[in-house]
């Protein structure tokens, strides 16, 4: 297990946030959330390079965006799934049984 972020040097934090930010582009918005959560406790450290803030901010924005996209998609799916017929059924993981 890694040491707590409070004890890391600014360079290490920068590397982490950079890696997490770029990793997030592999369809991994959780990684962006993770980035924000991870860096959050040290966000006000004075020795932190401004780039870290930048990465964290971008992570937050990107993850929010992706989550909005997915919730919109999910909303569309839930509402329109019946009208899509067979396609909708094929997309559904478990067909909801009647009571």
């Amino acid at each position: 297990m890694a040491k707590p972020i409070e004890k890391m040097g600014p360079e290490e934090i920068l590397t982490i946030s950079k890696k997490l930010f770029y990793g997030g582009f592999g369809l991994l918005p959780f990684l962006w959330v993770y980035n924000v959560l991870y860096i959050w406790p040290v966000r006000n450290r004075s020795d932190l390079s401004p780039q870290v803030r930048h990465y964290v901010l971008m992570s937050g924005i990107m993850s929010t965006l992706l989550f909005v996209v997915f919730s919109v998609w999910f909303g569309i799916f839930v509402n329109q799934r019946l009208s899509w017929g067979a396609t909708g059924d094929a997309l559904t993981v478990v067909l909801v049984k009647g009571v």
């Binding site: 297990m1 890694a2 004890k7 997309l91 559904t92 478990v94 049984k97």
Partner: protein
């Protein structure tokens, strides 16, 4: 253990401290200043209670080194005067654990000794406190002098090492007058130590209860949800030869489930042996890769199964795109947080969830098989703990010989420097007995330095850390989720090991509660070669120097220390407690609650026994036995009893 290597050659007299008065590791304060763990103590207090320079103690024979357990421990923490160390390194390494307790002991002592001759004896301490603050202000103060007690060539060597490794800050300072301890004060110190000891165990139990309860509750929830009419429950895996049917007789059930459980245990043993072989050959990367695959499978595949259950029972319309996306994120983030870096709490959450998933997958086993498996595991764990040639023991030994940590999945309680204190009370109580034990241990060390394994029921305290600085439980986490609804769990070992910091990971003992020294990395490093010893010390001292400078680059040592300080519980414990309770949850709520209480009590009892006997005890057996006993008693007597009382609304 700080000085195994020197002692091995120097004979049972051990390594006397070569310099007096370790300088106060005030740096620790700076280093830890940013950590949340310190929230409990006001900063000022901690600063005040900074450990003063150690004092030379000629009568340090009856108390081992707080950090490594070596005799004689001639240095004393000057602030609280209740703990002793064999060397300043030990004091330094112990400080992050000791500082909190130190503050409290000082406070307690001040209370108790107001009207006694505290003034005279404590004057040194008061000065020490002041000096500490001075020292922090000007850490580079030149040394005032040094005194060397040289008892052998190895000590000289150690002294040389120290001389080369020392930064100015760590130069020994002028030895101070050793305090005249009256019997009353002695008693007070012992009392304070006992208090710290008790507090330590209390807090460890307290800290360990929460995640275990969460894991158990999660498993119960999964089971209850999946029982709510799901088609996707985990099923018996294909490699169990015997399928329980309602019509099979008791003897058939017993024999068949014995066969099934035997097969699973056999897999566990085989995987353990494979891991031992891989480890001995030094294929650490392979092992880590294996664990990563296991974790990925567990999170991805079992997460998938669980999700199927959830969405069916909850009637959630979910599309494949979202599900794959969510699972992908969930597993990858889990992998990263467990194997790379991540906030502690996220790791804890993931490990807990993983354990509950594993337990959930094991609910696919048939009932008799589950009980047989648990019973066999208890037996096997006992054997593994007691048998001198068990594969796990070999694993531990080789991990020490190779200075390698066995990769393992550990639950780390976020209590890195939390109130850890050594259970010195027992030592004080019968110091002679312990000394004998220590001597015998030393002899044993001399005979076979590699055989030094903390969990064969010997006084691990004497050989190992006496601090119980951390409860750590490592686990041979070779979970092997089988791919057909996964009931394959192979070779997981669960441990509540009182393993000191860095040493935690080289413990792959199953179901052991054990105590080892906090400084066992040094133990490892120092095992064979003096050179290694040197480097470690250098690393340590340089680390300290850097801390003083406010430099945030910490050595690897520091890293290790940080990890190990907290309480660590093997996922195996989580998994098997949860398996038992999940199985109980499949029967009835009353059995569930009873088993939960029984398991928790068993766990508490195990840790208390550890505190009392200070020797290696297997962790799983007590809890599992309690749980099984309560399950059957509840199932066959209590549930019918309550079924009669309940509807009549009779409350007893």
């Amino acid at each position: 253990m700080s000085s195994p290597a020197p002692r091995g050659a120097a004979g049972p007299s051990g390594l006397p401290s070569s310099t007096s008065s370790p300088s106060p590791p005030a740096a620790r304060d700076n280093a830890t200043a940013a950590t949340p763990q310190r929230a409990n103590a006001p900063p000022g207090q901690t600063a005040n209670a900074d450990e003063g320079p150690g004092q030379d103690m000629d009568d340090g024979e009856d108390q081992p080194c707080q950090s490594c357990g070596a005799f004689p421990a001639r240095f004393q923490c000057s602030a609280c005067q209740s703990v002793r160390y064999c060397s300043q390194e030990c004091q330094a390494s112990d400080w992050r654990i000791h500082y909190r307790e130190c503050a409290e002991i000082v406070a307690a002592l001040k209370e108790e000794q107001q009207d006694s001759e505290a003034g005279r004896v404590q004057s040194g301490e008061g000065v020490g406190l002041d000096r500490d603050s001075n020292l922090r202000a000007s850490p580079r103060r030149p040394s005032e002098g040094s005194r060397t007690i040289t008892n052998g060539p190895l000590d000289e060597e150690a002294e040389n090492v120290r001389a080369t490794a020392n930064r100015p800050r760590r130069r020994p300072r002028e030895p101070r007058r050793r305090p005249q301890l009256t019997p009353e004060q002695r008693a007070a110190y012992e009392e304070a130590e006992r208090i710290a000891d008790m507090k330590f165990y209390m807090l460890q139990i307290y800290k360990i209860i929460k995640p275990v309860v969460v894991c158990i509750v999660l498993s119960i929830v999964w089971v209850k949800i999946s029982l709510g009419g799901s088609d996707y429950r985990p099923t018996q895996s294909s490699y169990t030869v015997f399928k329980e049917t309602p019509t099979s007789t008791v003897s058939q059930n017993i024999l068949g489930s014995l066969a099934n459980a035997g097969i699973i245990i056999g897999q566990i043993v085989i995987v353990t042996i494979i891991i031992v072989v891989l480890f001995k050959r030094g294929h650490i990367k392979v092992l880590i890769g294996f664990f990563m695959v296991v974790v990925a499978m567990l999170l991805g595949f079992m997460g998938y199964i669980l999700l199927l259950n959830l969405i069916q029972v909850m009637r959630i319309p979910l599309d494949y795109v979202t599900m794959v996306f969510a699972l992908w994120n969930f597993s990858v983030v889990g992998l990263i947080s467990v194997f790379w870096k991540g906030p502690m709490w996220l790791q804890q959450v993931y490990l807990t969830v993983m354990s509950s998933l594993m337990a959930f997958s094991l609910t696919g086993l048939a009932e008799w098989t589950t009980w047989m498996l648990l019973a066999l595991l208890v037996v096997w764990d006992l054997i593994a703990v007691l048998c001198p040639f068990g594969p796990l023991k070999i694993l531990v030994e080789s991990s020490r010989n190779q200075n390698q940590e066995v990769p393992a999945l550990l639950y780390t309680v976020n209590a890195v420097w939390f109130m850890a204190s050594p259970p010195n009370a027992i030592l004080n109580r019968d110091a002679n007995a312990m000394k004998e034990a220590a001597d015998s241990e030393e002899l044993r060390l001399d005979e076979d330095i590699h055989n030094r394994s903390a969990f064969n029921g010997s006084y691990s305290r004497a050989i190992g850390r006496d601090g119980g600085a951390s409860i750590s439980s490592s686990r041979n986490s070779d979970l092997e989720p089988s791919f057909n609804m996964a009931d394959g769990m192979s070779g997981r070992s669960s441990t509540v090991a009182l393993v000191p910091g860095p040493g935690h990971a080289n413990m792959e003992d199953r179901d052991n509660i054990e105590m080892r020294e906090r400084s066992s990395p040094r133990d490892r490093h120092g095992d064979g070669a003096g050179g290694r010893h040197t480097s470690t010390r250098q690393g340590r001292s340089s680390e300290q120097g850097r801390s003083v400078d406010g430099d945030t680059q910490h050595g690897d040592e520091d890293d290790e220390d940080d990890d190990g300080g907290g309480l660590k519980l093997g996922l195996g414990d989580f998994v098997f407690y949860s398996v038992l309770i999940a199985r109980a949850a499949m029967f009835d709520w009353v059995t569930t609650i009873c088993c939960t209480v029984a398991v928790l009590t068993g766990m508490n009892a195990t840790i208390f026994l550890l505190a009392i006997y200070q020797k290696a005890l297997p962790a799983l057996p007590i809890s599992i036995c309690f749980g099984m006993l309560f399950y059957f008693a509840t199932r066959f007597a209590l549930v019918p009893f309550l079924a009669v009382l309940g509807p009549s609304q009779v409350f007893i």
